[in-house]
């Protein structure tokens, strides 16, 4: 039954009705604006969440959840220049919730996955095959980091966020994120060693 939803969503107080009449016109603009936001951030947000949870379908669901929460909270965003930080903050929380939920259910944690599954799709040019293998290795290496280090690493390396932005997204102090980033790099370096040597 959707009574509570109707009651909440269709307040018929006159002031709200008038506001809704005005906002109905505005809502269409917001809809278009939100589509622009989606177009701009769908890939980076989904990529970030995927790096965090390591599962494609789950990452897409969580990305949807992120945008839904963002849409509902958009009116509270005072400073549009902080949109990216705010949006990634939601994504980070959504990802952390999923990780906690998964651990509570005693699923196999992604950091327990040590075996690298090389995708066997042939024929592929040698370079592309190497890239797919490398991607799997990077994915496995990311999974080996703890949540905080993985968050900081992927936000810095893959999302190109500044320390200040990462602090805003995560709530971490600059000192903590610097330490986590340094240790994450060291761990990634260790796991990707053979591939790094091959790049020289």
């Amino acid at each position: 039954m959707r009574l509570s939803v109707r009651a909440a969503a269709r307040s018929t107080a006159p002031a709200v009705i008038e506001k809704e009449r005005t906002e109905t016109a505005v809502a269409r603009v917001d809809h278009d604006a939100f589509r622009l936001i989606f177009d701009r951030y769908a890939r980076p947000v989904t990529s970030f969440i995927y790096d965090m949870v390591g599962q494609r379908e789950l990452a897409e669901e969580l990305a949807q959840e992120t945008f839904v929460r963002a849409y509902k909270g958009m009116a509270g965003l005072r400073d549009e220049s902080k949109l990216s930080t705010w949006l990634f903050g939601i994504a980070k929380n959504v990802a952390y919730e999923a990780l906690r939920s998964r651990r509570r259910r005693n699923y196999v944690a992604i950091d327990e996955v040590t075996e690298v599954q090389v995708r066997d799709e042939s024929p592929l040019p040698e370079g592309q095959l190497l890239n797919k293998e490398l991607s799997a290795v990077i994915e496995s290496a990311l999974a080996g980091l703890d949540d905080d280090k993985r968050t900081v690493f992927t936000l810095k390396i893959y999302q190109q966020k500044s320390y200040e932005e990462i602090a805003g997204i995560t709530g971490f102090s600059i000192a903590k994120l610097k330490t986590d980033l340094h240790r994450a790099r060291a761990e990634m370096r260790r796991r990707l060693g053979p591939y790094l040597e091959g790049v020289q």
């Binding site: 039954m1 006159p14 009449r21 790096d51 839904v68």
Partner: protein, 290 residues
Amino acid sequence: MKCEAVLPLLEEFTDGELGAAPRQAIEAHLAGCQACVEAFEALGREHALYARYDRGLEPGEEMWAAIVARIDLDDRPVESAPSSLWARFAGVVGDLFAVPRFVPIAATACAVVLVGVVVWKAQQAPDAVPDGPGIATTSSPSSPDVRPPDNAKGPDAPASGPDVVEPPSPTNMIVKAPRTKRRPSRPATEATADVAVASAIPAPVAEAERHYIAAIKVLTKDVAAEPSGGAAAKVLDAPLKELDKNILAARKAVETNPEDPVAVINMMAAYDEKVDALQRMARYQVNRDR
């Protein structure tokens, strides 16, 4: 700068996070230190390797459609204001005509409003209607006090974002009802039935309101009389109380602006929503108990 000072800063230097002075100092050092240059280039190779990571993700229309479906965006054009009070009122009470037992009530309501408002407009004579029991009117023009919760930042707000505030939403707003006399708590299904008709509400509108109240009374009895013992009514007491708050607010607006047709329409719509909710409850219980 010496190598011992440069090496720990190379990661920040690579990340572009150093201020102008240390950055220039490191650049000057790198110009003459091969060992530090090699360390710097190793970091660059790492970044180049990471850049080859291909997740194979392509979020697009399918994800957008799923998001839209979840947030239930309505892309219909903005409805223009009703061209006439009669047309809108007929629409609001239309559902009542769908239920045979309420046809007489709906027909009466329409007829009363149609004739009565014309007469009232001509005479512009406010009619006094005695207060009834139940929800008391208040002489003070206080409006519902709406404030966000104390923790204005929602769970998704960034820790250091003073400009980002979780907007008030129906789920987190604390609505203080106008000051009224203290009365014992009553089920929301019954509360509306005793609403007081304020003297400022035009007589024909008050008459239509009484028809709505009569419908609500009948439906309330229907819901309570079901074999489940009105369990649905107990569970849905909170949202029904929310509907009552809407009705009160809408009535307040009519009392304040009795000549405003929009306020009247809104009040009728608020009653309509309560009737609709009770109808759904009654139908739900009938279907469930089959």
